[in-house]
């Protein structure tokens, strides 16, 4: 038997009795001193990667988020009691620091889609009249570097524009840009205070009006999935390479 882990949190002592998790299993709390892990019992052979289970995972995390801001685990965290205990004890300080950082917060996401214009395309030269494979290779490399540089510039521009529009509402921000041949897809993840959700929506609504060439999608509030990870090396912890 393993534990399926939904999230780690502080100050969660009771759960809704009707709460069901992956594989329709009852959800319970495992206490580690001042930290709580929200889990359900699960046999590895019974665990399935299905939409239903992914949504059940989210439902549990969401219900905890109504009480407090947890650190949501990524879908599929199936561990033994010893593994979980070892993980919490060895990362206790980092978990506490992360929980303190997200406390009272929620995640908002903005997706932006813009068609690539001729001006965008001209920043990356086409390889025409290539004399040989060596030159072609170098030109292609140059093109890749220019694309990467353009991506970094866009990230900076976007970040500074969003900060200008949203001001001090942003506690933490993560921006990713995925250019394709025809569109630029950008995503901004923001950690904000719960109490600021309405103000965030209002400010984003105004910002959107200023950029008619860009299509926006704003979603949230979410549990802080994008801000939960502890940037440490775990791979060797359980002897996994």
């Amino acid at each position: 038997m393993r534990l399926y882990v939904y999230c780690l949190a502080e100050g969660v002592d009771r759960l809704n009795n009707t709460l069901r998790g992956v594989s329709d299993a009852p959800v319970r709390i495992v206490k580690f001193e001042d930290l709580s892990a929200v889990v359900s019992d699960c046999r590895p052979e019974d665990f399935q990667v299905t939409r239903k289970n992914a949504l059940a995972h989210h439902e549990v995390v969401q219900s905890i988020t109504e009480q407090t801001t947890p650190l949501p685990a990524r879908f599929g965290a199936l561990v033994t009691v010893e593994q979980l205990s070892n993980y919490v004890s060895t990362h206790h300080q980092a978990i506490k620091a992360k929980l303190a950082h997200v406390r009272g917060g929620v995640e908002m996401n903005v997706r932006m889609i813009r068609t690539i214009t001729r001006a965008d395309a001209s920043q990356v030269p086409e390889n025409e009249n290539v004399p040989g494979p060596g030159t072609a290779f170098l030109l292609e490399k140059r093109k890749e570097i220019l694309r990467a540089e353009a991506g970094v510039d866009r990230k900076k521009q976007l970040s500074s524009w969003l900060r200008e529009k949203l001001g001090d509402l942003i506690k933490e921000e993560k921006i990713s840009i995925v250019p394709s041949e025809t569109v630029i897809l950008a995503r901004a993840d923001h950690l904000i205070e719960r109490v600021d959700v309405q103000e965030y929506r209002t400010k984003m609504g105004k910002a959107v009006e200023e950029r008619p060439e860009v299509r926006f999608m704003v979603s949230g509030p979410w549990p802080p999935y994008s801000f939960a990870n502890i940037e440490l090396e775990f791979s060797s912890q359980f002897g996994v390479s």
């Binding site: 299509r215 999608m217 939960a228």
Partner: protein
């Protein structure tokens, strides 16, 4: 909590579909990574497949939406 409160792109998309895509994106691609995930390594292909499908279908649908809106020259 996860409802789309403001959808400015792609009115052709249903709010529920977007909400589902966003939920799956969060659950599958984000969150605290525990080492225990290795126990479902056999399912990694499925996880990656679902994740890519979500992303690709989102981009493709968005592109199609934009294309339809472009004024014809």
């Amino acid at each position: 909590m996860s409802d789309f409160d403001q959808i400015i792109v792609g009115e052709e998309w249903e709010g529920a579909e977007l909400s589902l895509l966003e939920t799956l994106d969060h659950v599958l691609n984000r969150g605290l990574v525990l080492a225990g995930e290795i126990t479902i390594a056999v399912a990694d292909i499925d996880l990656i497949f679902i994740g890519l499908n979500v992303l690709v279908s989102s981009v493709e649908t968005a592109h199609e939406t934009l294309r339809k809106r472009e004024p014809t020259e």
